[in-house]
Amino acid sequence: MAELEAFRAEAAEWLDANAPQAIRSLRLHAELGGNWGGRHPLWEAPEMETWLRVCADKGWTAPTWPGEYGGGDLSNAEAKVLEQERKRLQLPEPLTGFGLSMIGPTLLRFGSEAQKQEHLPKIVRGEIRWCQGYSEPEAGSDLASLQARAERDGDDFLINGTKVWTSYGDLSDWIFALVRTNSAVKKQAGISFILIDMETPGVSVRPIKLISGKSPFCEAHFENVRVPLANVLGEIDGGWTVAKALLGHERSMIADVFGAGGGARGRRATLAEQAREVLGGTPGEPLPDALLRDRIAQNEMDMKAFHLTLQRSRDAAKAGQQPGSESSIFKVWATEANQRRTELAMQIAGPQALGWEGAGFDEAELDCTRAWLRARGNSIEGGTSEVQLNIIAKHVLGLPD
């Protein structure tokens, strides 16, 4: 413990000494939300570039990764302390994105030495921004039925197909994708996990507009895209194993996001605050609309029960117990509670909830409308609610097929 406290002091000192003044307490922009790096980076503030560089030099953009790949070589406990100190000093994360959170850990687990050497340092330094290519237009919940195919051509694969729901595909440099490399075997077999430079000829990306307006999602087309065999992560035809490891990770990320109240939630009023503003009444006294009051309480209680269940799951893990099956409920419950929240916000806003833009609606009202529409997707993306319920019924409850 003493060592850890020594590290805390050291970390705090270093952070304080190296963080540019301008980024302290920097309020992150809704669209950017931090440093995502890449070949064409977008900076929240010019000093964010400096901040990334100094942290990357120290390996503290990826504190727990091995030093040989540019990481910080810290223990998990140290990394947690570093994180605590960063937050205490109100410093933004030096780097964020799917390189650090998704493909990096996967490379560490499944990558060849050459692959690690090639990709990890660039992730650590924020030089390459990554995106994910899993879903396809025709596959939906049946992920394994994917049709994008890679055909062997000498030492290369030629890739053809389409990926959808590729978040920030238009801003990314490399994509990790699932492609079919063998159609003679049954569905899950015959899939490979492959890394593709999006500057390769034949790759094109088109943003997807949602019912709520613009979105980070893109559709990526591959037309005879030539990729070296060496870019396959894991075994050829063995990509399903790699993908599954990553998918579980994604679902718990989604639950975490909603568990924390949704990405942009922090800046929004609570339902009770919104209702007080819209409906009036005496502060501290019951809201004048008993029905809305009851539903607001229900939604708050849904969220609270969810958070307690998250905590129970974590506490059990900390206590060294086997992970309980309760984690299977996180995705479906958190996303649907969020949908109920946004629908309730619409109902509270009443006639003022019907705006799309412009005159007669304030920013909070327009945000309410967009958030409601966006939330409809929560029970679809990252595994539909139906799939989640199937999983619970089969794997937790043991109900027969």
Binding site: D142, K209, G350, L354
Partner: protein, 380 residues
């Protein structure tokens, strides 16, 4: 009261459906949106509808209309709801013209109704205000006497199709306080009156709506629709009937959304079988079907009760709006969910139904509001 379509009504329904299929596919609605059409609907198509006699349905024969009932109007509105046709039935016919039919002077009727029936003039009802929520009596806009006439000042919001209206029927307070029933008076105000400003609002469902500001707008005594101070009852009657018309449109929209979803359930395959073979989705589809059938019975009953001037009409109106609001939200939420990812994209049409359903559900009172009204009318 017979809850069945007459042969004439069946024929009318078919005519409208054929017309809608030919002239108003959903692609037209999308194009109006994508082109950022300034008024959001087609005046040419409106005139065609007028020529077919639909616009004049509730207008007396003496003023060029068909002098038919709300039941017939609902027969027209349901197929138009299916294709989300944005033409201004609600604003011009069900709110504007209806106020004149029910409360207008002979002179007002003669001046406006024939032109409305011919598809040449547009009307709007300006009753809603920033603080009124769904309460028809919460009106702060004031009309003060000014010689023989009046000067009106106030702010109105979400005035349906206010941007195209040639005249607005404005609810203002000539006496009493903000929530009083007594003291509300309706005025017919020409769109070119001095001090009147109309600004378009952009809604999630793309329907035309406007902010209306009245800064001492002068009107003469003949501008009053109905009796001075007695406007609350007239307004309630107009909005009740319009609510049923809106519900007929909602019924069409939810039926279409469901039909499209059913078709998708049958066509879309996952894990090698149509997703419509999954029992959980089947049961949910069956529940939706039940809700739509119940909503249909309510719409028919409410329209006929309003036409008959039945004492039960206000309760049936609230029954219908509460059911249609809840059903429309359920059906369209499920529509998007069952379409999966593609249902979330703007390029797919199913999302239009979701947006319209919510907007309609929160117009003229939501389900909570109408359940409370049902209870209140039932003495509890």
């Amino acid at each position: 009261m017979q809850l069945v379509l007459s042969e004439d009504q069946e024929l009318l329904a078919k005519t409208v459906a054929d017309f809608a299929a030919e002239h108003s596919p959903l692609a037209r609605f999308r194009a109006l949106r994508d082109d950022a059409d300034p008024i959001g609907f087609s005046k040419a198509l409106w005139r065609e509808m007028a020529e077919l006699g639909w616009v004049g349905i509730p207008i007396p024969e003496a003023h060029g209309g068909a002098e038919l009932g709300l039941a017939e109007l609902c027969v027209v509105l349901e197929p138009l709801g299916r294709c989300l046709a944005p033409e201004p039935f609600l604003s011009t016919v069900l709110l504007g013209a209806a106020a004149l039919v029910r409360g207008g002077t002979e002179q007002q009727q003669a001046a406006w109704l024939p032109r409305v029936a011919a598809g040449e003039a547009f009307l709007a009802l300006a009753h809603q205000e920033p603080r009124s929520r769904y309460d028809l009596q919460r009106i702060e806009t004031r009309a003060e006497r000014d010689g023989d006439g009046w000067r009106i000042s106030g702010e109105k919001i979400q005035v349906l199709d206010g941007i195209v209206a040639d005249a607005l029927i404005v609810a203002a307070r000539t006496s009493g306080d903000a929530a009083d029933a007594a003291g509300i008076t309706l005025f017919l105000v020409p769109a070119d009156a001095g001090g009147l400003e109309v600004e378009r609002q952009h809604r999630v469902d793309e329907r035309g709506a406007a902010l209306v500001t009245l800064a001492g707008v002068a009107v003469d005594a003949a501008a009053i629709v109905g009796a001075e101070g007695q406007g609350a009852r007239l307004l309630q009657g107009v909005v009740d009937a319009a609510t049923v018309g809106l519900c007929a449109e909602m019924l069409g929209s939810m039926q279409e959304c469901f039909d499209r979803t059913l078709a998708y359930l049958k066509a879309r395959e996952q894990f090698g079988v149509p997703i419509g073979s999954f029992q959980a989705l089947k049961h949910r589809a069956a529940e939706i079907y039940i809700q739509i059938e119940l909503a249909r019975s309510c719409v028919m009953a409410a329209a006929r009760a309003v036409d008959a001037g039945d004492d039960e009409a206000p309760r049936l109106v609230s029954l219908t709006k509460a059911r249609c609001s809840d059903a429309a939200i359920l059906v369209t939420n499920e529509g998007v969910q069952m379409h999966g990812g593609i249902g979330m994209t703007d390029e797919h049409d199913i999302g239009f139904f979701l947006k319209r359903a919510r907007a309609a559900a929160q117009t003229f009172g939501d389900a909570d509001f109408h359940r409370a009204r049902w209870a209140g009318l039932g003495g509890y």
